[in-house]
Amino acid sequence: MPSEPDAVARDWPGVRLHVVSGKGGTGKTTVAAALALALAQGGHKVLVAEVEGRQGLAQIFDVPPLPYAERRVAVAPGGGEVFALAIDPEEALVEYLEMFYNLKRAGSALRKMGAIDFATTIAPGVRDVLLTGKCKEAVRRKGPDGKPVYDAVVMDAPPTGRIARFLNVNTEVAGLARTGPIRGQADAVMEVIASRLTAVHLVTLLEEMPVQETADGVSDLRAAGLPVGGIVVNQVRRPLLSTTSQTKARRGRLDLEAMAADLEKVGVTTAGGWLAGSHGALSTSEVVTALAAEAADHAERIDLESRERDDIEALGRPTYELPFLAEGVDVAAIYELADLLRSQGMA
């Protein structure tokens, strides 16, 4: 049984629409999927919607390509359910015309003429109103019992560089539609998106470009009066060295002799001074040098990441970290990431 809808996210009480954006390659679809699963835990019903026609959700949940219909893709621990939807602007327009103009049969004729294509491409504003409008509808939808059908909706949104413009449909259609249904729809969308019902989360990596784009994204959203949510730092490497060893590794001052002794003690190298099993091809000193070089690389990467982390902290938003998964992301990994988001209070 779904509990009170606003009980879903610990750090985000009252938020019903979680918009997830991020620079390309940062894993925003993965994070959107994990967040949906995290929000669903404990018996909630959550919809995750993608708007870019990429079928990224289907790949992540390992299901066939999603139609323009809500499909259950995962079950969360504690009886929750995650539904997924790929929103197609053309389908959304046809649906919209049906609803307001009873134009069901005209839909295919209009499509043949290129009119649907025209209407959805004529201005990005119209397309964006249709995409955000569908998410808004899912947020507002009520069941026969008068309660919201979904406890939360997660939108896998366009990249950070376009997010403020994409969500700020009001301004986008301002020059186009001054009155009429699209205008009305845009206003209804803004009532949800620019309110406390919504949080726009940004996904980043600890690298220069994504962090810069995140900072730009935060100021774009603020300037547009949109609610900035949390920052999800994805693919974080675990610092494996202590602070002291970290500095030593970077400066090439690790104690190689002690390492050699340790390696021999646990049988990685032989008493004769070779890598065990290498049949005398690699000497202990070669092994130690190679390991120290890899440690230096790791240390440099971690240092760079901690500088980027400072820049993220300076943004003053709730921040959540997800680990780098050497084995890649599969369905099991999404559950793992969902738990991590939950334990950090994002859900």
Partner: protein
């Protein structure tokens, strides 16, 4: 193990041979967003210049510090020389300003009064600044301009193009045509018809369905928009002889023998899938593919120490009371080997599907690429694949 062993069964891509081949005049770098496309384009351009060619690189959206290292401090539609090229070659760089390229295109093709009418048209303003595909279209337009200038002035003998950061690599090929056919399409023509003399007769044929739709459309987006579109299409049409033709010309240029495509990917599932689509598409469209550059590849100089051995050795060392540096170092190694193994599986899926495609690899670098030294490191890494 060399990074190249991530893709052991593929042919190596000989970067230097490609860059030294003077019959190649245009190098197009494409791939999905976030794979290091801009950096790769800049590294290829600098390496070609260092090897004596006269190069211009068209970047779309470089990282701030990389842009600064190329002397690019703002969007600038004119190539500026980059200082620090070795030898007799030269390198110019520019950052695409989409709106300005479109404006200049209008100004160059219309008398000033008519150009002003177009520039002031609200539909044009929406189209030139935010239409999905305009950036791709303008990147191609700029490429065409640079090519014409290179030929006229005998200045550049190689143009390296970065492509816009779309999620799908295919957008780059399709967007110009989509925009072209949209602007040149039947529907927009019908819409524009009343604004042109003789359009009436055609208009009548279209029947009631059309009237109904323009009615709905007016209600949806406002009648003024339709008028703006009609005015825009009418004024543009008489001037340029159709956008689609223009897009087709660009497409033909990309099929020419003096163009080479380099597909860029990272060893991640999504990026390689996009690369795979792109390779198939280039083949289907007869576009000359030079090969794949695989960025951010894990590497180890100690492949004979496998992840399981390293991990269990680390665990034994950690049983001691004090934190063991050696154990930490072994875990770093184990993580690296595991990443490498995963990347190899992904790369093998790509190479087995595309056996003929040569591959160059660039190892994951510890730091960001922010200067010419960094670009040269990337260039050297691509070239040692051989």
């Amino acid at each position: 193990m060399n990074p190249s062993e991530v893709a052991p069964r593929s042919k190596p891509l000989d970067i230097d041979r490609l860059l030294d081949d003077r019959s190649v005049r245009v190098l197009v770098c494409c791939g999905s967003g976030g794979v290091g496309k801009t950096t790769t384009a800049a590294a290829l351009a600098l390496r070609a210049a260092d090897r004596g060619r006269h190069v211009v690189v068209l970047t779309i959206d470089p990282a701030k510090r990389l842009a600064q290292s190329l002397g690019l401090t703002q969007l600038d539609n004119d190539p500026k020389p980059v200082a620090g090229v070795e030898g007799t070659g030269s390198l110019d760089a520019m950052m695409l300003d989409m709106k300005r390229t479109f404006d200049e295109f209008v100004e160059a093709n219309a008398d000033s009064a008519r150009a002003q009418t177009i520039l002031d048209n609200p539909f044009y303003q929406s189209l030139s600044s935010s239409f999905a595909g305009t950036q791709e279209y303008m990147a191609m337009e700029k490429l065409g301009q640079l090519r014409a200038r290179a030929d006229a002035e005998s200045s550049w003998d190689l143009i390296v193009v970065d492509t816009p950061p779309s999620r799908s690599a295919l957008d780059f090929l399709d967007a110009p045509r989509r925009l072209g056919s949209f602007l040149d399409g039947r529907f927009i023509r019908i819409l524009a018809a009343p604004a042109k003399a003789g359009g009436r007769a055609y208009f009548k044929v279209i029947s009631a369905g059309f009237g109904m739709f323009t009615g709905v459309l007016s209600k949806l987006i406002g009648g003024q928009v339709l008028v703006d579109v009609q005015t825009f299409v009418a004024s543009v049409d008489t001037l340029f002889g159709g956008f689609r033709q223009r897009a087709d010309e660009t497409f033909a240029m990309l099929q020419a023998a003096d163009t080479a495509f380099v597909v860029i990917a990272a060893p991640e599932r999504d990026a390689l899938r996009e690369a795979s689509y792109f390779v198939d598409r280039l083949e289907a469209d007869d576009m000359p593919l030079a090969g794949l550059v695989l960025n951010r590849v894990a590497s180890t100089s100690l492949p004979d120490l496998d992840a399981a051995t390293a991990t269990s050795a680390a665990a034994r060392l950690e049983q001691g009371a004090r934190a063991s540096v050696t154990a930490a170092v072994l875990r770093i190694h184990a993580e690296r080997v595991a990443t490498l193994a995963r990347q190899r599986r992904l790369a093998e899926r790509f190479t087995s599907a595309h056996r003929g495609v040569p591959v160059a690899t660039v190892p994951a670098l510890a730091g960001d690429v922010v200067d010419l030294v960094g670009l040269r490191t990337v260039g050297d890494a691509m070239a040692v694949t051989i």
